[in-house]
Amino acid sequence: MDFKQLESEADKIIGRYEEKRAAMLPLLWLVQEKFGYIPPEGEQWVGERIGVSIAHVREVVSFYTLYHTKPIGKHHIQVCTTLPCLLKGAKRVLAQLEERLGIGAGQTTPDGKVTLSTVECLCACEAAPATQINERYVGPLTPETLNQVLDHVLKTPETHDWLVDSARAELVEARANVRPSTGSGRTEFQPYVSTEGPVLSKRFRSAEGAWFDAYAADGGYQAAKQALTSTPAQVIETVLKSNLRGLGGAGFPTGKKWGFIPKDNPKPKFLVVNADEGEPGTFKDRYILERDPHALIEGMIIAAYAIGSHKAYIYIRGEYVRPAQRFAKAMEEARGKGWIGKNIQGSGFDLEIVIHRGAGAYICGEETALLTSLEGGKGFPKLKPPFPAISGLFKCPTIVNNVETLACVPPIIRNGPEWFAKLGTAKQGGTRLFSLCGHVVRPGLYEAPVAVTLKDLIFDSRYAGGVRAGKKLKAVIPGGISAKILTAEEINVAMDFDSLMAAGTMAGSAGVIVMDETTCIVQALWSASHFFKDESCGQCSPCREGTGWVFKIMDRILKGQGRPHDLDALLSVAGNMEGKTICVFADAAAWPVQSYIQKFRSEFEHHIATGRCELAVRGELVEPRTDRHPSTNSG
Amino acid sequence: MPRKRELTFWEQIYIPEIIRGVWLTSAHFFRNLFLHTVHRFGLFKDLPAAVTFQYPEQPRPLEPRFRSRHRLTVREEGTPRCVGCMLCETVCPAKCITIVAGEHPDPNVEKYPVRFDIDLGVCVYCGYCVEACPEDAIRMDTDILDIAAYSRDAMKLDIHELMDPKLRKPVAECQLKFPHQCAIHGNQIEGSWESVYGSHPRESEDRDSRFRGNDKVVE
């Protein structure tokens, strides 16, 4: 096997990082892209190039789901089976695929053409049930479209941009009806996306709005120019006044976080952008990366300046291939116009940005796990103390910010912090991109003020337009799968961090998963616990063992073998996981268990007592029916 | 204080007293004499006479929890259930158990006794070994009471007699196939796993299926 051709590219890659070891993931991608998988010689080569023993290379390869040590089929169909897709019929999609291809999940067809896998959340929930076919996201998969996709996949050598190709698809206003099919025999899915702003979604309208000229014409990079002429302290003050809070999920005041960077530390400072969006139910960062990457770049420049950093890394999840490509293109444009590199616009401020792709691990969305992964290891969260602002990436002061948070920064600087603060509540300013998915009429991405109520988001015609097919609402998860569930009676709550915390749940990443009366909550919890069991990094004992235990009990209950003490055991195990781990993954895994059982206990008790689903008994479907997209309108 | 009273005439003669004294014994004696005699002629067979158990033709019934001679329980393929954990050797108050452990080819079993001796002359029949055993590998339920021998050495049971309670010393032939240490082979280790499993279990493809749930005790 010849690795010589990879040498020069490898040199370039290694040269981008302060420590050789950090080139681990990119070099593994390089090998996999060349050979289709990572052979032992590849692992050896990578280990030698970055000075790491081959056992540690194998550790990394085995930890992330996107790396393969054996060749796979030419077309890799990865079916998402996490809760939002499960609610819209992912199981049916999988069954249909298995039948047509004649193989089970995890297998390859004998002719080597297709490999079928199940994966956890792709964050394409607005197009549920979604799959990833090689590099493309494809969805929603109705029975008809699935057959068309398969025909296409099996007959042509290239996969097509199909359905959810949110960058190339033409964008429509949220309230408008979807365009009818173009008559080419293919249905084109148009997601519902806000396009009116006032903060973030203004350029989501047009695919061409993503690029530099359109962005600059719209007032882009003015804020950066303004920031570079003021002092970093002033920038931090401005952001503080705007009440901008971390929109990745934790809700920590952004200006305060930037202030934690020690001023007198001689080590280099790093800005790391967390584009490892993985929270089921959330897909907002993907839209920013694809439709408004320059907003993010501008936000990065301002943030880096504020904290005194001259090197920024953006960690994009491995599944987001096209978003990463579009962001890279935007970066090239910005560099060409003098906004990235040395002496930006003559201000004397240098900033280098490096794109670092993940390889399939939800836990890398946790900021210290992200740093460990960036440094070339498995996604293991770090022990705190020390905190990243003091000792983070390569043990240097580091600030990790979410994509959406940084995209808010240019408007704040341009329009003033008061404008931003007034849009929201006293403690949280601005708007948010709410990802609505599940059993709603119009799943999509909606920008709304942070204090919008959950009821409005679900029912208002400006937003998701109500529960689908005239069904009754049963339950809602307001902030991604880790958030505690709310019943249909509890949706009169504002969606800002503090209101939701007071209501006993959390705003998190603003991924709203809506469940109607056909949903079996026991199955929903099974799906949530399956997700946490799959994604636990395994570093510390309560989470590693606890998530597996919770799933095994749920599996047994769902199969009809539940026992009366199981509910108490589940609550006890979940309670034991909380507060004892290195990161809050275990807490996040515990909250669904505690809240679903607390609020829907009778459903669980029925499952355990009878061994069957309550909904099946009442004649309702256990599996959500196939959702026919209104655009097809085929009666 | 009651004064010692005078004996009556009949008491002084002694003979009636003697007869009174042995009345119960005599009653049984004559009854049994009669019954045993008529038993010889085949009459009154259903009336039992003396309570004596005519051992060894008629063994005395024992309680289920009676601790008799030990035996090692056996797996389906003829190897002992014992995993050589030495808990019985440790707990034995008389220190009469001698175990040497060896490697079992099935990784789910891992350990087995290459040598397992119990010196019956030292054993106090306390039953602690049965209680301590985590694998139900040793039991004292053979109901064998006749352990007497002509020498101390002959009372030292090794793994042959323990696995097969019907064997008595001296054991002429070594029937055990798995690698073990026994006096018949001059205290050398003899035997092979291939002869037990047909092929070396670790190299066989379906070893996992063979060793999953394969734990029925041979009574």
């Binding site: 023993s53 081959i54 597996g548 235990w549 | -």
Partner: protein
């Protein structure tokens, strides 16, 4: 210097100390799996959770630096409940292997369960299955199901040996410890991963199934494998001769010594104990015929006395060994050299230096070369094959002070003694322990056996010399005697005997003492009474 309160007691410690270290210095034991003082902090086992006032959640003691005024509780309801939950989590997928697991009896899962657990288990699902009984190399056996993923072994191979063989693959509860497929764990310190593993996941292949841990007695000693002098504990069984083929020593474990070997020993030392029970000389023999100590000592004393009377000291050659204790070497010096006047007495044999590295392994495979030098039996300079090593940690460099002057014939090495034997100038040869066949060739030794008037071999194990010597005096090994070794850095370390010498061997000091008592009875008055003991200038001693 922060002051904190732990369990109601105050202590002042250096800044940067962690809570677990501060507690340990007060004698308060906080349970731990992943924490090891010789390795970096991992903080993943979570069993060391303690309660810290003002912190809402329990904190791990191993990674929390002490702060002034901190109040810590290592007991109490909250901490106990926390520990029990963590123990429960660790045990749910742990296999029920205690009967077959070698770690039983020294297993931290067992110990902490008995001390802090004692709960009713509730896990009623199928446990995760992983590979069992996998040899990782010639020295270590892995059982992946038993592993609690504390990562101590991974950190050891990364930080101490820097070989990086071990890794934790996959994620979640499918995480599994292992090697890269096709690789082996065969660095020179591989046995240490068995010591650091708190459970029975990594076990010693050499010790496998030999004996149960609770049968073992322990005796502190010093390794005799090389001149580093690592501190060890000898684990032995004397009352169960059916185990390990009658051997007494079952295994050797390192003993912590901050200056010499910290927590580690090399594999050569760890597995180099078999000679204590195998291949031992058990009988006093004269030309292959068994005889008694009495007869041997009388005859040899007589022979030596005669030589002295006839003033033939120049015809005697003595080759002591740097494997002997310092006391024995001084005894040899006092008796052979000083009182009998033998000048050809030297321990410098033409041994090929062994392998060495920059950690613990030294090229000089004798534990007491420095002792021989200090007794004046190895030249006056440190010219043995051992390379002058860098001090390890805070070791003292330099040597034992007050060396005795070398023998008069300073340049007379053992090789020269043998030459003179072959040339007929020496016809009485007394060899301690060396295998002359290995050093000088079989033909030479055969010739010596035929031509020498008296050829005595005093050693513990069978070797080329014992096959050809006229007289074989079985002596005890280091584990069977009290004494001291001085290592290559000049540190003298005393050790005590673990058990009595094998019948019918005797400690060298006893043999020499009795020999010269008879000499004194037989021969001239110059014989010094042996009870004047060894040199008074041994410095210090450890353990």
């Amino acid at each position: 210097m922060p002051t904190l309160t732990i369990d109601g007691k105050q202590i002042t410690v250096d800044p940067g100390t962690t809570v677990i270290q501060a507690a340990e210095s007060m004698g308060i034991f906080v349970p731990r799996y992943c924490y090891h003082p010789g390795l970096s902090i991992a903080g993943n086992c979570r069993i060391c959770l303690v309660e810290i006032e003002k912190a809402p959640k329990l904190q791990i003691a191993c990674n929390t630096p002490v702060a002034d005024g901190m109040v810590v509780r290592t007991n109490g309801q909250k901490v106990e409940q926390g520990r029990q939950s963590v123990l429960e989590f660790l045990l749910i997928n742990h296999p029920l292997d205690c009967p077959v697991c070698d770690q039983s009896g020294e297993c931290d899962l067992q110990n902490f369960y008995m001390q802090y657990g004692l709960y009713d288990p509730r896990f009623k699902e199928q446990k995760v299955k992983k590979t069992k009984a996998v040899p990782l190399g010639p020295t270590v056996m892995l059982d992946a199901e038993r592993c609690i993923l504390c990562s101590r072994c991974v950190r050891f191979t990364d930080e101490i040996t820097k070989t990086g063989e071990l890794g934790i693959f996959n994620r979640g509860d499918q995480s599994e410890i292992g090697l890269y497929p096709g690789k082996e764990l065969n660095n020179k310190y591989s046995g240490n991963v068995v010591d650091v593993c708190p459970v029975g996941a990594l076990t010693d292949r050499d010790f496998r199934f030999k004996a149960r841990v609770w049968y073992l007695s322990s005796s502190p000693s010093v390794c005799n494998g090389c001149s580093q002098g690592c501190n060890i504990d000898i684990h032995y069984v004397t009352d169960r001769p059916h185990l390990a083929g009658g051997a007494r020593v079952m295994r050797v474990k390192p003993r912590y010594n901050a200056e010499v070997n910290q927590w580690w020993i090399c594999d050569e030392g760890r597995y180099g104990y078999h000679f204590i029970d195998q291949g031992r000389l058990r009988k006093v023999t004269h030309r292959g015929v068994e005889t008694t100590w009495e007869k041997a000592l009388m005859e040899l004393a007589g022979a030596l006395g005669r030589v002295k009377e006839e003033n033939r000291q120049g015809q005697i050659g003595v080759i002591p060994s740097a494997q002997l204790t310092t006391e024995e070497l001084f005894l040899i010096r006092k008796l052979f050299v000083d009182s009998l006047g033998i000048s050809q007495c030297d321990a410098r044999v033409p041994e090929k230096p062994g392998t060495s590295d920059d950690f613990l392994i030294k090229a000089d495979k004798n534990p007491n070369t420095a002792g021989a030098v200090s007794a004046g039996l190895a030249g006056s300079s440190f010219d043995t094959p051992a390379v002058r090593p860098e001090p390890f940690g805070k070791l003292r460099a330099g040597f034992v002070e007050g060396r005795r002057p070398a023998t008069q014939d300073e340049r007379c090495t053992a090789a020269q003694i043998i030459d003179r034997c072959l040339a007929g100038q020496i016809n009485v040869l007394w060899v301690f322990g060396h295998d002359l066949v290995k050093l000088f060739g079989e033909q030479t030794v055969k010739k010596l056996s035929q031509e020498l008037e008296l050829f005595v071999f005093q050693g513990s194990n069978e070797n080329g010399s014992s096959r050809y010597a006229h007289w074989v005096l079985p002596s005890a090994v280091y584990a069977e005697k009290d004494g001291a070794f001085t290592n290559c850095h000049g540190l003298a370390q005393k050790f005590t005997k673990a058990f009595e010498p094998l019948k019918d061997s005797r400690a060298d000091s006893q043999i020499l003492t009795e020999l010269f008592e008879r000499l004194a009875a037989v021969g001239p008055e110059q014989a010094v009474h042996p009870s004047t003991g060894p040199a008074p200038d041994l410095i210090g001693g450890s353990g």
